[in-house]
């Protein structure tokens, strides 16, 4: 072509843009930097790392067999051998806490993954397609939200034999509704953005647009909700186990370790028995909430897009 070269910005121009905008930083590094500015969130993350780490390593670091009973050594006060004392059957509380943490955290994580998966899918489909699909799914959400959860849980567990997997399933099926509403709301606004129409004009299918194009933008609030949900599930499991309806002994969880503290004598004479499981629940849930709040700030898209 005998035409002059296109008059387009050159390498120099692009360099200048680099200078004005500063060095290229990946989205992740921006998020990490924002997260690290929040002291409470960092504290929560460190706590969680320790709690999850020790729970995972329980078989190697627990000083005693968590189920070994020694009735002659019941309700022994914390000492060199039993760092956090023993329970009403003479079992080591520290070891039971470590093993119990595995169960409590497992329930929290798996129930969260279940609830978030169902909630995200339902919310995404409802928000993206709208119309009748949306109306139907949202009425379903309304119905499930109206269930009196705690009674339903108690009834279900009373009718069915209580077990870990049933507990997790019931948790997941009753608590995806919040995520569904959240994701639906995000999709309602995001689907109107021009990049969605642009994606459709290049021939992307609805499934690809929902999961490949829109969901990444909606993930921030979902991650926050998921983090907070883990704490919620741990609390719920503790409450049910405390009532004796959750995970059954001899498997220990933080919740069912508190069951026997209901007895006034134990509460008065062996302060260490209810205190340590209670503190573990408190610390864990608090840490999840701190991390969740930190993530909420770090993932705020208005901050990222700047």
């Amino acid at each position: 072509m005998g035409k002059p070269e296109l008059n387009l910005p050159n390498e120099k121009g692009e360099k200048r843009i680099e200078q004005t905008l500063g060095k290229r930083r990946s989205l992740l590094s921006i998020i990490v930097a924002k997260f690290l500015q929040n002291k409470l969130a960092v504290f929560g993350l460190i706590m969680l790392t320790i709690i999850v780490g020790t729970a995972l390593l329980a078989p190697w670091i627990a000083p005693h067999d968590p189920d070994f009973q020694n009735l002659r050594n019941r309700l022994a006060a914390p000492s060199g051998e039993f760092l956090l004392g023993t329970d009403h059957l003479g079992r080591d509380i520290l070891s039971r806490l470590l093993y119990g943490g595995r169960v409590s955290l497992f329930v929290g994580f798996v129930a969260m993954v279940g609830a978030v998966t169902i909630g995200t899918t339902v919310g995404a489909v409802a928000g993206y397609f709208g119309g009748l699909v949306d109306a139907f799914l949202m009425r379903l959400v309304d119905i499930i939200i109206s269930f009196p959860n705690i009674f339903l849980l108690i009834t279900l567990v009373a009718v069915l034999e209580p077990s870990l997997d049933k507990l997790i399933m019931v948790f997941a099926f009753l608590s995806w509704t919040g995520t569904a509403r959240l994701v639906r709301g995000e999709f309602l606004t995001l689907k109107k953005r021009e990049f969605v129409l642009a994606a459709r004009t290049i021939g992307m299918s609805n499934t690809k647009i929902i999961f490949g194009q829109i969901l990444p933008s909606a993930m921030g609030p979902v991650i926050v909700a998921a983090t907070l949900a883990v704490g919620g599930f741990i609390l719920a499991e503790s409450a049910l186990s405390f009532l004796g309806l959750g995970v059954q002994p001899p498997t220990s969880t933080w919740g069912n370790m508190l069951t026997y503290s209901q007895s006034v004598t134990i509460f008065r004479t062996a302060w260490w028995y209810p205190t340590f499981p209670g503190v573990m629940i408190l610390l864990t849930v608090l840490s999840f909430n701190f991390v969740g709040d930190g993530l909420r700030d770090a993932l705020d898209p208005r901050v990222i897009e700047k």
């Binding site: 387009l8 692009e14 843009i17 990049f195």
Partner: protein, 325 residues
């Protein structure tokens, strides 16, 4: 030149509870291979809905293409299923939009967005797609294409994003590119770059372009033929030079009269009084009758047909009938 796209009697209407809005109402036109056709008209004349109708992406719920044929390369697009349309969009027909700031996904890198199209339509590996994306970005004028590939859209200026959009649109070598006001949101200097780039690429890739705009300057720059739309209908169709030399329809005359001219001194720019009538309230006769300076009695009662006044030039006005008889 053979015909690439033929639109016959296209009607896309919008429905509300008890009203019908005939936004596109009986459109006939064709696009030849390698040609650039401009569709011009005011806001609300149905230009954008025409382009979305061709893509099969009329906004739902509410909108529906109720009649007509869109024959592209021998097949009627309206008869294709949604799954078959996925293969046409992006591959055979691509589109670029007015707002380059919002038409790229803010959370995916430029590379991810371009390669996705290529992997999907051309079934090539990730590595090949990346190489092709680099080539494409170089073609649209990015000197450091490899680095741009890993950038997120927020790091690019409006003009750069529009060039990325063009690269994406051209990535699968489409036969037809629909550009919906591609330069409206850009600075004047950047507008010229983008227009030049599009002109260049349409030669290089040998694709046809439908250029939708309200800017007659852009039309003069790029188009071979022009379709003037008013209230959902074509009011004039013409070769580009003839249109500017001798506009036939009173509406086109009004449009051209409202463009400032560099070599004439004007106290005031002329303008067409009033607005495009709302689609639920089109006049019974000629749709331009409410604003036309030459309005006659029969214009109010009867609709004129689009007639061929000279070879290759059509206009929808009773004035030409009188001139002939």
């Amino acid at each position: 030149m053979s015909t690439l796209l033929e639109v016959k009697n296209l009607k896309t209407h919008f429905f509300s509870k008890n009203k019908v809005f005939p936004v596109v109402d009986g459109l006939d036109f064709n696009v030849k291979k390698g040609e650039t056709l401009a569709i011009v008209g005011e806001s609300g004349s149905g230009k954008s809905i025409t382009s979305l109708s061709i893509m099969g992406l009329v906004p739902k719920p509410g909108g529906k293409t109720v009649a007509g044929e869109i024959i592209f390369d021998g097949t009627d697009l309206l008869s294709l299923s949604e799954n078959e349309m996925y293969k046409v969009r992006g591959n055979d027909i691509a589109m670029i939009f007015q707002e380059p700031m919002t038409s790229l996904n803010p959370v995916l890198t430029i590379g991810e967005q371009i390669t996705e199209v290529l992997i999907y339509h051309k079934k090539i590996s990730k590595k090949e797609a990346r190489q092709r994306a680099v080539d494409l970005l170089k073609i649209v004028g990015f000197a450091r294409a490899e680095e741009i590939l890993d950038d997120y859209p927020h790091r690019l200026s409006g003009g750069m994003r529009q060039r990325v959009m063009i690269a994406m649109a051209m990535s699968c070598d489409p036969k037809l590119l629909i550009a919906d006001e591609p330069t409206t949101a850009l600075d004047v200097t950047v507008q010229a770059q983008i227009l030049e780039l599009m002109k260049d690429l349409s030669h290089k890739f040998d694709s046809s372009i439908i250029l939708i705009t309200h800017d007659l300057g852009v039309v003069a720059e790029l188009a071979d033929r022009v379709l003037v739309m008013y209230a959902g209908q074509v009011v004039e169709e013409s070769e580009i030079v003839q249109l500017f030399d001798n506009p036939l329809h009173p509406y086109t005359q009004g449009l051209l009269g409202s463009v400032p001219k560099i070599n004439e001194e004007q106290e005031r720019l002329s303008s067409i009084g009033g607005n495009v009538p709302s689609p639920d309230n089109f006049p019974k006769g000629c749709r331009f009758s409410t604003r036309c300076p030459h309005v006659m009695e029969k214009c109010i009662e009867n609709q004129p047909d689009l007639i061929e006044v000279y070879p290759g030039r059509k206009s929808r006005c009773f004035l030409h009938e009188e001139g002939d008889s």
